[in-house]
Amino acid sequence: MNSIQLSARQIAQKVRAGELSALEVLEDHLRQIQAVDGVPGSLQDLSLDPSEESKVHAFLEVSAQLAQKQAEQVQARVQRGEDPGPLAGVPVSIKDIFCVQGTTTTAASRILYNFRPPYTATTVERLQKAGALIIGKTNLDEFTYGSSSESSAFQPHPNNPWNTQRVTGGSSGGSAASVAAREVPLSLGTDTGGSIRQPAAFCGVVGLKPTYGRTSRYGLIAFGSSLDCPGPLARDVPDAALMLQVLAGTDPKDSTSALAPVPDYLAALQEGVRGLRIGLSRDYDHISYPDTLTGEMSVQAIQPEMNSAVRDVAEALARLGAEIVEDVPMPNARHGIPAYFVISRVEAASNLHRFDGVKYGYRTSAPVRGLSELYRATRAEGFGLQPKLRILMGMYVSAAQHSAQYYQKALRVRSMIRSDFEQAFDPRGAYRLDALLTPTTPTTAFRRSEVLGDSVLMQYSDQMTVAGNHAGIPAVSIPAGLDPLGLPIGVQFFGMDFREDLILRAAYAYEQATQNAKWRGVIPQALRGSEVSA
């Protein structure tokens, strides 16, 4: 038996029971990485063997030694009769935006190409304490700035395991791909505007963005500090629930981490959906998209399979006893991207100020005449186009003379976006929802290079997800079928603050009800011919 076929729950259960060695699990997964991942991303311009085109390229660094040590510790605990933890022996990949002591942490940027953090992110520490094996760091859009993972300074970028000519989505693209390609059962990602859910949808895996503050941001290299959320990517809903259980909780190192009690997410899954009120919104069956020159907004249809997937899921849940609430108004959803263009950029520009070639990471080797030149040359050479664009946009909209028009306005619009959800979830309101069901993305995975470079179109691929980040609420994306090209379709449940349990229940009910659906048996292209299909 190859343990890459197992869920995280099964691995942990078998390792804890002494039926399976963590070392064996590690070996199986390292072998899978070897088989499907190809060369890791690099700063050098490599001429690649054509076979690399069909590889996944999820990883920037495989930390086999670190994982080996952890596996040995897990085994030692098992042998001593101690509990090795709820994730005992489970290999986990970490988006390379999390600082992990003993790894290079690059944020997929040249400017951090050699950074070795002397500390570990709280979420990663929690995984380690739970017995997980940190198997490597996954590739992403540079500093998480993108929705395709193509903008990494380390190339080749990740490819979608379902069709390697397609993008993984992003920015947690390497994470989603590593889970889809069975290189790991679990991955730790971050979601600022949709960066867990969108790649999860594109890669046919489960991705959960927790409530803001439910998971600690300590050790996560910041993009939009008021929006960033670490969260799990997994192959099924219970695995995501199990990982969230480990990640969630307050952290004295993160002032914005929540004190709210953490429920038993796995136990909650068993409660089913009978009586849950699941909303649908016409404001999520299309997108509003601006003309790039005039800014005139036009309504555009989304890929029809997205809407039909949402209907299928709603019907399945209705059959299980959920109440479907039609036509829930989300009138401010369409402002999500414009507000995000402002808020996330202001925070990003400020967060990137610290990368200046003085303290760590890249410094220009060009001769400079003074300090300002050092800053400029270092940042010019160290940052790719996307960070530069975000710095410029952020600086422009937060300039003293523009701040009221853009930044302060965007913060108020953010309140409006939040109030849409508050009304929908209000237990004394007209809709009294437990969850809102929407497509995760307007389309399935797009072709490589198709959108890259068009920063506005790229951003609009987050239109379905970004409102959850503005509102701070939890949301989970789950696979809900394949489109005619065989690409995964994702649907998403939004929930109330700290009610990850409710959206996971709805997600799990659908997953269980469709366990035998034909599309669930389809194997991603990158795995065909490997041990998985054998």
């Binding site: 907004m297 300002s372 400029r376 010019a380 600086m395 306005k409 965007a410 309140s415």
Partner: protein
């Protein structure tokens, strides 16, 4: 073009403030994209807000821990921080001084 669009002169100033320097190709691409993004956010100014809508910093009302007690707890390995420096003399981080004519602000 919208009246708000960023001219090459404004753009150059912005680039300096951002402590960046760009090739002509980069400038052209980034300025175009910036103008496209500004067109996209133009929508914001057209949104009519109801009276009393407050800015929201985190979406939800964060209920985090109280401020920490005043305790000195030394970081165990400050030398590892200095060791990351691209240039140091073993005690200080080292950078070139301001050159003549460079502003200090």
């Amino acid at each position: 073009m919208t009246p708000d669009s960023i001219t090459p002169e404004m753009f150059a100033k912005l680039v300096t403030l951002a402590a960046l320097e760009l090739t002509p190709e980069e400038s052209e691409y980034l300025r175009t994209e910036l103008n496209h993004q500004l067109a996209a956010v133009k929508e914001l100014s057209e949104i009519q807000l109801a009276e009393g809508v407050q800015p929201s910093l985190h979406g939800l009302d964060c209920q985090g821990s109280a401020p920490r007690p005043d305790m000195w707890l030394p970081f165990p390995n400050p030398a590892e921080i200095l060791a990351q420096a691209p240039d140091s003399d073993g005690a200080y981080f080292r950078v070139p001084d301001f050159s003549r004519g460079e502003g200090e602000s």
